[in-house]
Amino acid sequence: MTSLSTPGSVASTQPVAKPALLSIRSVAKSFGRNIVLRDISLEIAEGEFLTILGESGSGKTTLLRIIAGFESASSGELWMEGERLDRQPPYRRRVNTVFQNYALFPHLTVEQNVGYGLRVAKLPESEIVQRVAEALDKVKMADHAKKKPSKISGGQQQRVALARALVKRPRLLLLDEPLSALDANLRRQMQVELKALQREVGIAFVFVTHDQEEAMVMSDRIALLRSGELEQVATPREIYSRPATAYVAQFIGHTNLLKGNVRNGIAQSGPLSWPASLPDGPVVFSLRPEQVRVGGSSAAGTVQVRGRILHQAFHGATELIRVGCADGLVLVTRTSAGNLPQQDVQLEFSASDAVLVRESPERI
């Protein structure tokens, strides 16, 4: 099935608007026999918000640590502004990191933490004072300047860690799951603030998370990692509407994966069939629940199927309804129609909304 042409190729070197700031070229990493990253190639543009998304153990933090310089790649190269980045020690790289649990220096005050990177660079004291004040202002922590990190809340520590990294005016800011320790409300608030801040300072962000919703909300582009390999690199819209693989389709949002065959220009999956101009062979399609409508219009180019409601889950504005159809096919539909009284329903979707995806091979 790899012979099929796929929409949105893996690790698409999709042209980015601005010149590349950092290029990751064929980076691989293994710890002993354990392969953590394989052949990662990725370009990060000036001022871009790129999210590295993946499950735990997908290698996303390792990739970030390689960029920061805390780990060295087993093979491959990192280039930044025409220079080899991977040969420089972390303290020479114009890259700063916001650590997962903030890593604030406990013996220094908020102010001293933020000023640390400027002090070790031996900048004049007057400039340090001014830049620290600006940075603390920007993250709304000026009132807490004299406090020790242990005396402020997690969300505040987060802001200090951000200010400490940004005050260095890096070319690239790395953020390692910086919001994962915050509770849901604060987390959503910080997502918005962080994105606004990134726009304001215009620094490229590489943001690591396992939360696909967070990735969708914040990113210009998402790089989806799976078991150390890039599954797809694309904008949130593209990755959602044109997932390259079955794994991507399932990882980002809900989807119906339709497995089937193409024969003589007709795609067949269980009781469903529709015309598809594809070569013969096994195929997998991804069909988003919101593309499946309840009730039939029988318009041209639509596929109809009848089924019985199995389960209905209320999600606020919409509901996800699982519908059992013939041949064991279960379709999930998203509707804002409210509580559906009838058990038997007619479903329909446009054949063009079923996106061909590559089957994701099992990896260990």
Partner: protein, 282 residues
């Protein structure tokens, strides 16, 4: 959780132990220090301050105490200079060999103090390993006599014996430093040397203080090393106490010195504790 009677049963024996074998002797010592000895060498149970005035009047006690403190200070300094780099290396750079090396530091603690002190005697003596080797190599023509029966020998032996005690708290403090602080420091542009002085060392200060206190306090009260290796010039305050309780049979004066030493050590511990608290951030 536990019943009242259970708690009483469990806590009573250790409390009794402390009362009988620690508090009572202290109390006895306290009393003795205000008594005196008659010419017929019997203890006179009349309360007075004569022991303390004698301590203040006779310079030999002061000088010995100062020398003891000097030796203890040198031992403290040397064991910090040895123990800190060792702990730092083990904690940050030993990798997989960490546990093995840690055991190697600890193992000497299982060897009897006396054996280690005697070992130095056979190394430093005029017919000892060091002197015979030096002569064999024609580096010296006759045995170096400052090696043994000198403050040098005492400092050397005590440093050898107490360095693990300095190493342990420093190592524990270093192990407690989250490694992402070191990474954060490098990330912010600090060189490894800057990182050491601005992050690692300040965060290890509680361990340094604890280790320094161990080395100083244990050395200050030591009497075996000066007895075996100190000679006349290496006598320490505890040797005087031992002789007062022994040959001289002047328990009251010995008790007065002990009590003075106890007050000195207790206040040292108090201040080091205060400083450690000031420097700990958890």
């Amino acid at each position: 959780m536990f019943s009242r009677s259970y708690k009483t049963v469990v806590t009573l024996p250790p409390l009794a132990w402390v009362a009988v074998f620690l508090l009572t002797p202290y109390l006895l010592m306290f009393c003795y220090s205000f008594w005196s000895v008659s010419s017929s060498q019997t203890v006179v149970h009349s309360w007075n301050l004569s022991n303390y005035s004698e301590l203040l009047a006779k310079p030999v006690y002061w000088q010995t105490l100062l020398r003891s403190m000097g030796i203890a200070a040198r031992v403290m300094l040397l064991s910090l200079l040895l123990g800190y780099p060792l702990a730092y290396f083990l904690s940050f750079y030993a990798g997989r060999r960490k546990d093995l090396l840690y055991q190697m530091v600890i193992i000497p603690l299982w060897v009897s103090y006396l054996v280690r002190a005697y070992a130095w005697k056979t190394i430093l003596g005029s017919d000892g390993v060091l002197n015979t080797s030096l002569q064999y190599l024609h580096l010296t023509s006759h045995p170096l006599d400052f090696l043994l029966y000198s403050p040098f020998a005492v400092v050397l032996t005590l440093t050898h014996i107490y360095t693990p005690f300095t190493f342990l708290p420093i190592y524990a403090a270093l192990e407690h430093i989250p490694r992402n602080l070191v990474e954060a420091s490098h990330d912010l542009g600090a060189t490894p040397a800057q990182t050491f002085w601005k992050v690692i060392f300040p965060l290890s200060i509680p361990g340094v203080l604890a280790g320094a206190t161990f080395a100083f306090v244990l050395s200050l009260g030591d009497f075996l090393a000066p007895l075996l290796l100190g000679g006349p010039s290496g006598i320490m305050i505890s040797n005087i106490v031992v002789s007062l309780f022994g040959a001289a049979y002047n328990w009251p004066l010995g008790a007065a010195i002990s009590l003075g030493l106890l007050v000195l050590v207790a206040s040292l511990l108090f201040f080091s504790e205060r400083l450690e608290k000031k420097w700990s951030f958890s």
